[in-house]
Subunit: 479 residues, 2 copies
Amino acid sequence: MDHIEDKTQENVKQSLQQVTDLLHKQKLIENLVQKQDMPRHELVENLVHKQNVAALQAKLDELHPADVAYILESLPLAERLQVWDLVKAERDGEILLEVSDAVRESLIASMDSEELLAAAESLDTAEIADLAPDLPQDVIQELMQSLDAQKRARLQSALSYPEDTVGALMDFDFVTIRGDVSLEVTLRYLRRLGELPDQTDKLFVIDRDDKLVGVLPLKRLLIHDPEASVAAVMIDDPLSLHPEDEAHDAAQAFERYDLITAPVVDKQGVLIGRVTIDEVVDYIREESSSDMLNLAGLREEEDLFATVKRSVQNRWSWLAVNLVTAFIASRVIGLFEGTIAHLVALATLMPIVAGIGGNSGNQTITMIVRALATGQLQGSSNYRKLLFKELGVAIVNGMIWGGMIGLIAFTLYGNPELGVVMTAAMILNLMLAAFMGVTIPIMMHRLGRDPAVGSSVMITAMTDSGGFFIFLGLATLFL
Amino acid sequence: MDHIEDKTQENVKQSLQQVTDLLHKQKLIENLVQKQDMPRHELVENLVHKQNVAALQAKLDELHPADVAYILESLPLAERLQVWDLVKAERDGEILLEVSDAVRESLIASMDSEELLAAAESLDTAEIADLAPDLPQDVIQELMQSLDAQKRARLQSALSYPEDTVGALMDFDFVTIRGDVSLEVTLRYLRRLGELPDQTDKLFVIDRDDKLVGVLPLKRLLIHDPEASVAAVMIDDPLSLHPEDEAHDAAQAFERYDLITAPVVDKQGVLIGRVTIDEVVDYIREESSSDMLNLAGLREEEDLFATVKRSVQNRWSWLAVNLVTAFIASRVIGLFEGTIAHLVALATLMPIVAGIGGNSGNQTITMIVRALATGQLQGSSNYRKLLFKELGVAIVNGMIWGGMIGLIAFTLYGNPELGVVMTAAMILNLMLAAFMGVTIPIMMHRLGRDPAVGSSVMITAMTDSGGFFIFLGLATLFL
């Protein structure tokens, strides 16, 4: 059994550790050399240093591109570029495909046009299309010229589809056969081909106009009598996608029907590409993490080791919105400065009302955003039912927690009316939170906007300003 | 081309619409009947009603189990159970597997032991194991007795693995061959089998002790000379998993190496099961959505149409924690009631300091939680680098936004010292948010806890109490 390597996660972590160790060793050597005032070029000649670099390079060469990508993502910028320099040029392309968008940007920024062109030329058309948005315009131009006519047309069409469509996910690596041949002939044809594209679980059956007429799963090819014809054995009503379909919907179809690949056809039914599960998995990962980042008010995925400047840019917009909403909440309090001056306890208690409302509203909104993302909630069909349920939850929570905190306020300040106002304000603010938590994402969805973006900031704004207004307003009226 | 159905998402949405329409029609009929004081049993006999039920049933029968699951998840409880009653009993099992945990619970609650037993018996061992945590104990007991010895042993072992391990993900549907036979013999063997398990992309090659010695991808089986031996063509160092491996790590291996299936072996290298990409996709979906729900302070995925009581139960714990932290923040303000009585503007301005700190801290924490989840951040190796970067971002943001808000405070209240205190408090609270945003999740990860759970509530607690303390403290000292 010694030849069965255990290639799971532990191994990647070990590789990362080894690379980090080698990098640190190198740094030590460099520091030592610097202290001895040895000129830079002698350092490079230094034997220990050379051995170390060789060890690092050997380690990187034996790793899967995805593992190199993982190591690059985990390293701070300086060390990342040091490792990137040591990666063999012919592997640059496949590794660039594997790293996250943010890290890819940092790597591409360190390469000149020539290196980028060489990296891109090692990839196939669909892969180049994935990389293209991050490449400088002049590299893309040159690349286009270096491709043959079919590839250029494919690249142009792949680039023409918006990011979140099936067209942007698809590749062109598929094997087609005719329905009128036998399985035996198909088997011989595959042997002659000598290679099948990755992830191939089915062959696409087309007619003489290149229209898709069915799919032949390899499973069926293997178990049926070789004498049978493809047409007799194939699935003749396969799920097919259109390049304009939303990637989100295609991903749901893959999840729902446990697909590995699916053909993509144009409006005339002509086969033009395929989508594979590995692309879908990447899409699902990105989609759910962008929902999470958006809810938290981050514009996009951020390189963990981005510069301060880039991080400020990525985060400033929601902070600015938050500043405006916090300022509005502050002005609401400002309206009641007279009441507060009269009873300072109000200033002490008001953040409780606002805080619980915000927390509860965020629970509701996260649930609704998720339900909209998974498609369980279709626009507003069950809006009223949901609203009543959430209002019910708010009233129950308001009575329990509001009652408790009202009691505490009464005990602390010996003022029963203050306790009652506190409880009433809690109930009302939780109801406001429930109403907004259901309404905001459903409204945004109906307006065709992404309900994850900014929902959290909006609900917090509502429950802050609303909470202060309700609590201080009730206090002004009744205390 | 008319025989190529377009089975994408649009179609499922249409099905949901049709089912909803039929349900509403039925309700109309029932209402009509009720108004005419027709007794209940006559309603059932009513022809229109019967036709409608038949149409609904026919519609459900033609749908994929995953689509029925989707419809069940989208319907409020009463209508959901109405549809569930119409689903053919023999499909109950596979549909229960497809629905979300929360909805599954509601369906199982409506079934008696006999129905549950029948549903479970239609499934294979790995599927029963998936369902088991939701089944009543007596059903599981009876089920165990009805299984043969091998299946019972498999079910017991599958149930013995904790939820987040490979053992809980794996199934037992795989085809094994010996290395010393030829591809030709293998092809004949597969034809004799007459069926291959879903998702099969490779055969597992074992020796006479059932130890895994390699894998034979179907691709290789198809393209190589039939005379060649399996041992010559197979991959002899395949990635293999252990049942104790963490599911999270296995999922990352699937993503990284674009796997479709992977063999699972025990410590002796004996093949005991396999993991498939469809299970991994479900796992990735659940993992990322539970991170999102946890960050928002929801204990687990909630049925959109859960009862008020269940929703209160799912959400109360974080609300309680939040109440305690809000109360602490309130007590911090209480310390400074004298200062506030002296200058009421402080009460008006203090929520801005706390709010911006919370928002900024949540941005940082979400980023770190994601980096820990994807494995890019390994414990604390780069802790200091990250901390300095985040503190840098905090200082820049503090000077920009704090300076702006300080200026506004000065303009509003004509008090330059107040403006300076405001700016200083903002910078300090943003630095606190950055420090906590990096430290909390990394500490939790090091302590072996899930960094997503409660991080958001904790950071908000820190930035609220901290923000009030810093702002009011500075005001007490300098105003």
